[in-house]
Every structure is written in structure tokens, then in C-alpha cells.
Symmetry: C2
Subunit: 339 residues, 2 copies
Amino acid sequence: MKIIVDVFSGDDPKALIRGTAAALNVYPDVRVVMPGDPTYLERELATCDYDASRLEILPASEVIGNDESPTMAIRQKRDSSLVRGASLLRSDPEAGGMISAGSTGAILCCGIFVVGRLRGIDRPALAPVLPTVDGGSVCLIDCGANADCRSEYLAQFALLGTSLMRTLCKVENPRVALVNVGVEGHKGNMLTSQTASVLAEMPVNFVGNMEARDALSGKYDVLVCDGFVGNVLLKSIEGTAANVVAEMSEVLRRKLPGSENSELIADAAREVMRSYDYNSYGGAYLLGCRKPIEKIHGAANERTIPYAVGQMRSMILAGLTDSIAEQLESMSRKPGDEK
Amino acid sequence: MKIIVDVFSGDDPKALIRGTAAALNVYPDVRVVMPGDPTYLERELATCDYDASRLEILPASEVIGNDESPTMAIRQKRDSSLVRGASLLRSDPEAGGMISAGSTGAILCCGIFVVGRLRGIDRPALAPVLPTVDGGSVCLIDCGANADCRSEYLAQFALLGTSLMRTLCKVENPRVALVNVGVEGHKGNMLTSQTASVLAEMPVNFVGNMEARDALSGKYDVLVCDGFVGNVLLKSIEGTAANVVAEMSEVLRRKLPGSENSELIADAAREVMRSYDYNSYGGAYLLGCRKPIEKIHGAANERTIPYAVGQMRSMILAGLTDSIAEQLESMSRKPGDEK
């Protein structure tokens, strides 16, 4: 299978190039296309040990920066690594998916305007799959692609998240919850009140409202919210985890002095932080486009790519996009129609 | 000074009654009025050791439950502990403030319809003051009173939060930040984009957008957002802290076996959790009403009350409401008017 890896949209292209070479060594059935400056890419790749026959360079002279207006950038920088990659994803039947370290906005625009949306999807959404405290996973959708949403969008997110958890995490009947300020039915804002009634009519396993404190509890498989709320939720989890690990380590170093203890405490801190650190578990999926796109952190490092490639590979093998399309299709059928 | 304490709206009135008796022992200059069932109160208070001359019972036969519709409950349960307390707060010049363990909605309705709003405030907001990682404090406003907001409301929240941090935490020029999905100016949803420009014109120290991961960083003194986002932010901090402390403790017990270590680890966990546990630092302030109201958790316990009474006492001594009213007044003056 062919996966497009856009390394230039990230902060450290060199690290992502090394990571891609490493990924090729991990997955012998994967071929990579890398859009970008050939001279730069060849120079960096020359320092890596990998199977060059499975890596193809797609010349692209420009890079879209994090601070650029996405819509403008997509229109003006036709020869950027991101737009070139997205165009190939759209046109090449062999291209199964794309990984990019670009900005959410630019990737979203490419997904909508270059790759194209699936029929029945108004707004593609960004969905990370996070580890839960009980060792499972939960999909948070949307986590930043759509800051302003309507209830129909959230209903579509529920469907996209359900398909993701079915295909990627093999959860048979994902429990979908609506991120809200309380579990009681009457709580929430205008958007959640409207969405709750729409979700109740959807062919998803809607279990009701949930509170942010239970996001990683393992009680839910898909958390539905608008992209603003999802982003706040994700970043507060990330920030709080870092704070608490640091505070706990400091208190313990005081209670358990000695360099040996301090090393064990540092090990424990690293072990706990691993599940709260995006770089260690790849990225977030842009769902709802004709082909899967995975967004990795702009600050993604060498370790990120093999993990992200592995995730994209499973999504392609699982036929995620087709299964989403099928469900949208079956939903659009009027009740009573033949299946 | 006189403080009204509504213990019946909480899950465990008996614990809150004991806590109130304890608070009276801590603050000799405080008098308490307790609305509720006299027989019940007298029976419980008889078991407490406190100065009965500073506690007055205000008969009230009803209790407003957590699951009742706030507006309906306020209208129908005129003889509830919450409504009776709020009415006294409104009518008695000696009553400086009220503490209640009731639901946010019921307390908000009482604040608006019984106690009354300050001139220039459209929506009172709920604002907890949270400890930051650098040992300071930050005010999160709104954290749940107003799920749907307009930019003018958020601008008023900025002013209320600024006054709170000035009077309660003695921060001279509180740094006000807008909770957003990124620090860049162009990021956000419709509400934050509109609010950012309004805040820039306000007589507050607006330092721009902030990301949820930096909420407790100590970089900001006042975090402004709508009540839905604030509630999600607060609860995800609370939930993540509990998860991370538990995970870190488990990993360390594995790395540092032995009952002695396990006790030290448990101590450290408790020490860290203290700053993430509401009960240990009282409640949230309902700001924007004619007199201060403090909402404590429904699950508040005996320890909560002395802390909450201490906070309310400082707010009354600092003349919070008057100082807010003055600022609103000075803002409403047209530029060029005589001060």
C-alpha cells in the first residue's frame, strides 16, 4: 500500500524524514511518497538506512507555515508539500492515505477542497484516539477542526467516531457520549440540547451526556463535541497530566530522598506521561474525507512517524473510509427501503 | 458580620451543620444565619460545641433538589432554605453574603431573581479561584452559570474576575486571558473572535488568548470563557488530576515495594490531590449580584464550611461587591466625564 508522508509542514523535517525511513523498515508492505524539495530530501535520506525502492519523492517547492491563513495558503501555494500530497491522495488510486504535520486548518482545507468530502458529510472532523485509564481507548471527535458547529455536524461526528472505533479498535458497538456539563438530560447549552435529540435518532449506540472528568474513564468509546470544546478538553488533559506528574515527582523526591529513588521516580513519571504525550501515540485522524488523513503534532519527532504509519496502515487495511461511506449510504436510505 | 449558610441544599446537611459550628469557632467576628427545618437544625446543633449566641435559625420547610428545574423551583418553593436565605440576603442590610451547597442553576436563579443583579451586569457568573502550579491563584469565569454567552457577557466576566482577584488575592493588575484553541489572534470560534476585540477595549489588563493546557500555569490571573467551556475545563482538570495521581501511585508502588514506601506514596498522592479537590478549598463565587454568593459542591463535607466561611468573610471585609459596582459605574461614565 502507498502512504503519503508530508514531513515539511512540521517543525523538524529532518527528524520526520529519519522517522519515515524507520517506518519503512518496520512495515515491509508499505510504500511511502514524500512531497517536498528533492535535494533536501535526498541529502537527508542518504544518511538513513532503509529500503529506498519503497520511497518515492514527489517534488514540491513550497511549505505552508503554521501561521498562514489556511484557505489562502491552499489557494496560493499549489506547489506546497501539503497540497501536492493531497492532490496525489485524490488522484492516485494506489494512495491509501496521507500523514501530515501541518496545521489543523491547512489539513482541514486540503481535506475538504483537494481530497474532497464523503457524500453525506458536511464537515470532516479531527479525531484522536486516546488511551483510557482502564487500558482501553476513546475517540474524541471533533478536537479542533470545527470551532463552530451545528447539531447535524455533531451527529455526523458520532457516526465517524463509531466507524473509527469499530474498524481501528475493534469495538463492536461503540458507546457514544455527548460532552456536556452534566449527565442529566436537561443540562447543557443550545447546541448540546439540540444534538442530544438528534443523536437519539441516529444508528449509533448513544448512551447520553458525559462530564469532562470522565473523558478517559473507559465508560465511553466515542466522545462527541464541537471542535472548540474538544480542543479545550484535550489540551487541559495534556496540561494537567504534565503538571500533576511534576508535582507528584517533586513531593516524592522530598519524601524519598536519594539518587536511586529519584531515578525510580523519574522513570515512573516518564511511564505515566507516555499515555498523555501525543508524540508517543501518533496523531489525530481527519475523518469524513474520501481518503484518510492523519494529522501529527507540528512538534512531532522521529518516534512519531513509525507509530503514525502503523495507524494509517491499519486504517487502510481495515477499509475505514469504505465502511464509513457504506454506513452513510445505509443511513440515507429511507426506512422501508430494501437493504 | 452576618453570613447566611444554606446547608440543606447539599447532599449531607449534618456534615455541613457540624462544619458551620466549627467555622463559628474559627471566626469570632462572624454571625451565621441558617435557613431550614428548626427541629432538625436544633437536634444536630445540640451535638456541636460552638457559640450558640452567634447562630440564628431561619425557619424554612422546603429543600430544592439538584434535579429540579431551577426557575420552577425558585417560583414554587418559596419556603425552601435557598430562597429564604436569598430573600434575607436581599432584605437584611447586615447580611454580607450567602453560602449554599445548592445546584448552580438554583443558586443562579436566586442570585438573579431574588438577590438581584448589579447595574451593568447582564449575567452573573460562577467563578472558582484555583491554585496554580507556581503557588499562585487563577480565577476561572464563567465555570458553569451561563452555558450560552454573548461577547458582552464575557467582557463583563473579565471585569468581575479582575475585581475578584484584586480584592480577594490582592493582585494589583490581574492578567486577563481569553480561553481559546490557540494563542494566535486568528484562532477560535465566533464567540471568542468577537470577545477578543471587545476585551481589547475594556479597562482590564487583557493579555490575549490562552490555551487550556496553560490554565494553571500561573501566566494568567483571570481566565474568561463561557460557562460551558469553563465547566468542561474545570472538570477535565479535576478528572485528569485524579487519574494521573492514581496511575503515578500505582507505578511507584510497583517500583518501590514495601508498606513504608506505599504509605509515603499515599501521603504524596493526598498532598497533590489537595490542590485539585474542591472540598479542600471551598467553592466558587457567583459574581455580579448585589451581594456575594458562594456555591460549594453538593458533595461538600464538614471541612468545606470553615474554608468557605473564611473566603466569604474576606470578600465581605474587602468590600468586593462595592468595588465591582464602582468599576461598573466608572466604566458607564462617558470618556471626558468628571471622576
